[in-house]
Symmetry: C2
Subunit: 599 residues, 2 copies
């Protein structure tokens, strides 16, 4: 707005300067290991910190420095930000935001709590979670449950601007963390269980004006795909690549939601994210590949145009919602350094891809119990190249509507859900919080009504046959597609991991333990029982010369929906209530931040 | 019930055996410093522990061992119990009870949560607090918000019996901890702001049958006073000692509630408690001394009969609700060992009395700012012996209805409220969490309607003129009636204190800090910021050879009612909302237990 008095020409120059500045600011800040300025820690989503004062040699002496209650029950996903001397903490609906003074044990500098219609709560499929805040240009960005994207003055908590990103009355809700890239705030949307046509949208950092919107399915001009230039596995996608894979207008209620984490490669100027399951969960009702649901996207942040796409699970039959994060890491594969993207999909396969061109390098099961597929066809030139081979016994479409397909692994919540993995360049390993859960799945016919659940399946969840642990925390070699070590956990590990230069990896458990393990061996070095189950992501920062590790507790999310929403019917929560019924022996609701340091 | 098949004679013998057993069990268990079996720690209410592994020399190294969330927001008063290897944790409405496994970081052995009509919430004057559980005879006793007294099997959490102690539709609510003495469960009642005729009631430990009920005001047979044998300051109280101090039938809606702590002297077989303010808060509406509101009671637990009474604040004009605890300690006074009772009243005076006969030994201000009285007439034989001398300027009756009396100290919430003090026999000092708050008070005429607020006053609260701190934590010499040391606190200290043989005194602050100070000097040795403001009482126990200190966080209570109930009008909460508005800069709602130990 300051530029309105200069000439148009100068105005454009100034705008470029601002763009570069915002970009540079975040790239610079996110490179400072003492801060945690992105919801993902870094643009590459490695969740790796160069801090090493807390390390494998001393982490057993870790202790709690201070704690903070958010005043909200239900599930607390995401992680706080640290910018300078201030920590920004978010919570689930009603989405309070706190600015806490790091120099004074988290004294509250300001609090913002939006007024939102509580009618949004029943429209939130899997708890009233929020995955965190973004920071840029002196502003804190919050994506509210009701889809309002709000920019707050980071110093005062005053609203700078706010925009509606969707309409809860149509089933559109906000749960994801925004991501700032250059001069834009990018934000996805939730509602795959309500037949939403999902999208990623870019808003101008300064004004909040919408710049572009890219849908997951629809005509090329809605999905921002160039039929010639946008590729899939090296081939142009061609015209109408999405709509021709849907029956009639089903793409308009096709899901493909975008509530996962966003990654960005400044050198390639591409950002990456996954689109989710097609609606409904009854595959018989939506013939076709349902593109571009279940897809890894590489887009240009300036205009939203897709450079490449890769659909992992064409015609999903299991709700293997492809939203999980893309971790960007350069790795030696086949004697060459490849700019890779590594993705642990809900479908139980871990993908290693060339992030520049979308070449598929590795696709391997990261839980040996995965049984719906025998693997991906890796034969280039094959008509089914890149497609997973489905085992008929575990195909819910093959078995048919109103038929209960049993012992499908993984369950709908996947071998991993939104809980982000970490990558350590020290070890070259990926650290993955996993679900070790199977399911019975019975699809049934459902009709679409705007704002009403559009699910069409009944589920039960349980550990794999003959086992009792519902989770593992694993170290993964993404070059070879192999598990290096695996720690059993009683419940799904629904917390995001943190890897550090101290040779330690941190994660939380649904019982409420923060754990530190040796990055090389997985040996448990420390654990502490926080007030409630952990579904938040562990982060670290330095302040006053000391390294701190922090995590939000607050049991909930899909796995904890029984506790979070007070449900007791085992079939409720799409089978999660019965599957995770044992959680109530360990923990109770409550949203708290626990901050750790060495004495 | 097991005795019904034996002869009557044997049955009686068996009952006596049971009585003695229950009594002996608690006396023995409460003498074991490793456990914390009474809500008050010990029958004498000293809140002193003989444990000394954590001491003044090492307490600075204290760290958090484990934590637990209760899943309830709003104010958490009271303290958990520890019986054997199990910790029993309670919460405010809806009053969940958790049995936690000390050997496994508080794994939940069982949870009990009563179904209660939420209509009780608006009938709870000063937050939905509950002050804790009692244990005896393999049972856990909970006094629910709706006044149900429930006995739970300590091993399973199954209901053994339950009884209604009152009627929330009349304004009667349950907030106090039950106390087991011999074969009876004693429990008071809340509702002084609703015109309740309050009482202490004894229920049979085994059956839950009511054994006796002693009202605070009413005819002699209701208040269980013997006109000849019950004394006040050494004189028989005479017939109709209560009802003749009320106009007409006003005693029937007279208040005198009983929600404080109960003490017991097994040698004297007397139990002690205070009765609260007379209803309404407009003194003009209720002429007379309003006996026995504002009274210290010494009663026989077998039949409830009063041995002696002492009314501290006849005809209350300030809501100096006399419910605070009586601490029983033998002290050298005037060259002799006296069986004393020490009481820090809301009215700002600390009383030292002979607990056998009710002789008044010392009455002194424990906050120098107390200005409504120049002190108690200590001249034996004087017609006003034992009565406080009221300063007309600060008499709300003198100034009249609809007149705003200003700068009265202390405020209605007293120089101390329910937050219990501690006594260390090592130092001979009492450690008192205090409020340092004054008020404007404007009484107005109010009519009584059952179940509706019957207050009749508007208040504002603030620190004493020229000061900013609203609390002090003091050490008190109850023999001399003098402050030994005093630590300023920004807000009222609404947490109960713990003194230990380690020469350390612990307390919590409304900002959320647990603090440890040197018992001799008050020097701060340790502080830790818990997730929420502390209004719970600090307790200690030993398990597996290690000493632990534990406290409930959860801001609320009267001082924290603004945060707890989401009130913003400064006059709301009878002036507490405005007085404590600054709290929101420090803490947020949340109910959590924090357990500390040494590395």
């Amino acid at each position: 707005m300051r530029q309105i008095f200069v000439t148009t020409c100068l105005g454009v120059a100034a705008m470029f300067a601002v763009n570069a500045q915002a970009n540079d600011e975040l790239i610079k800040l996110s490179g400072d290991a003492k801060q945690w300025v992105l919801p993902t820690g870094d643009y590459a989503n490695t969740r790796y910190s160069k801090l090493d004062k807390i390390n494998a040699g001393n982490v057993s002496k870790l202790q709690v420095a201070w704690t903070f209650s958010t005043g909200v029950l239900r599930g607390h996903e995401g992680a706080p930000l640290v910018v300078g001397d201030v920590m920004y903490v978010h919570g689930p609906f009603p989405n309070p935001v706190f600015a806490l003074d790091l120099a004074h044990d988290g004294k509250i500098l300001w609090k913002y709590e939006p007024k939102q219609d509580p009618d949004v709560i029943p429209v939130m499929c899997c708890d009233t979670v929020n995955r965190g805040l973004a920071y840029a240009d002196g502003k804190i960005f919050l994506h509210q449950a009701d889809t309002t994207l709000v920019a707050l003055d980071a110093k005062t908590g005053q609203v700078v601007w706010q925009k509606k990103n969707g309409d809860p009355k149509k089933g559109e809700t906000g749960t994801s963390a925004p991501m700032v890239i250059k001069d834009k705030v990018l934000v996805g949307i939730s509602g795959g269980e309500f037949g939403v046509q999902c999208h990623v949208t870019a808003y101008d950092l300064k004004s909040g004006n919408q710049v572009w919107r890219a849908y997951s399915e629809g005509p090329d001009n809605q999905i921002l795909v160039d039929p010639q230039k946008t590729t899939s596995l090296g081939q142009p996608v061609g015209a109408d690549s999405s709509i021709k894979t849907w029956q009639g207008d089903q793409w308009k209620i096709g899901g493909g939601c975008t509530w996962g984490w966003i990654s960005y490669d400044p050198a390639l100027n591409l950002f990456y994210y996954g689109s989710g399951n097609p609606s409904t969960w009854n595959p018989k009702q939506r013939p076709g590949d349902n593109k571009w649901s279940m897809t890894i996207w590489a887009r240009n942040p300036d205009n939203g145009m897709a450079k490449w796409v890769y659909q992992m699970t064409p015609h999903d039959e299991w709700d293997y919602d492809g939203v999980n994060e893309m971790i960007l890491a350069d790795q030696q594969i086949g004697g060459a350094t490849r700019k890779t993207l590594v993705h642990f999909d809900r479908n139980g396969l871990a993908y290693t891809m060339d992030r520049d061109n979308g070449e598929l390098l590795v696709a391997a099961k990261y839980d040996p119990k995965v049984n719906w597929t025998s693997g991906v066809d890796m034969t280039k030139g094959s008509p089914t190249y890149g497609r997973p081979k489905v085992i008929p016994e575990y195909s819910t479409e093959h078995n048919g509507e109103d038929k209960n397909s049993k012992n499908i692994c993984p369950a709908a919540l996947g071998s991993k859900d939104e809980q982000p993995a970490a990558f350590s360049p020290q070890t070259g390993l990926f650290y993955v919080p996993t679900n070790h859960v199977c399911m019975d799945y019975e699809p049934f016919r459902v009709s679409y009504t705007a704002g009403q659940p559009y699910v069409g399946a009944t589920l039960a969840m349980y550990p794999p046959q003959g086992e009792t642990n519902m989770g593992n925390f694993i170290a993964w070699d993404a070059k070879a597609g192999k598990i290096v070590w695996s720690n059993k956990e009683q419940f799904s590990v629904w917390s995001g991991a943190l890897a550090t230069a101290g040779g330690v990896v941190f994660y939380g458990t649904l019982e409420g333990y923060l754990k530190a393990v040796d990055a090389k061996t997985g040996k448990e070095l420390y654990k502490f029982k926080t007030p409630s189950g952990i579904i938040g992501n562990v982060m670290t920062y330095e302040h006053g010369g000391k390294q701190y590790v922090a995590v939000l507790s607050g049991v909930g999310g899909w796995a904890g929906i029984g506790l979070a929403a007070g449900l007791t019917d085992p079939k409720a929560g799409l089978g999660a209530v019965g599957g995770y019924a044992g959680l109530k022996q360990y923990t109770s609701l409550g949203g708290q931040l626990t901050v750790f340091t060495l004495p």
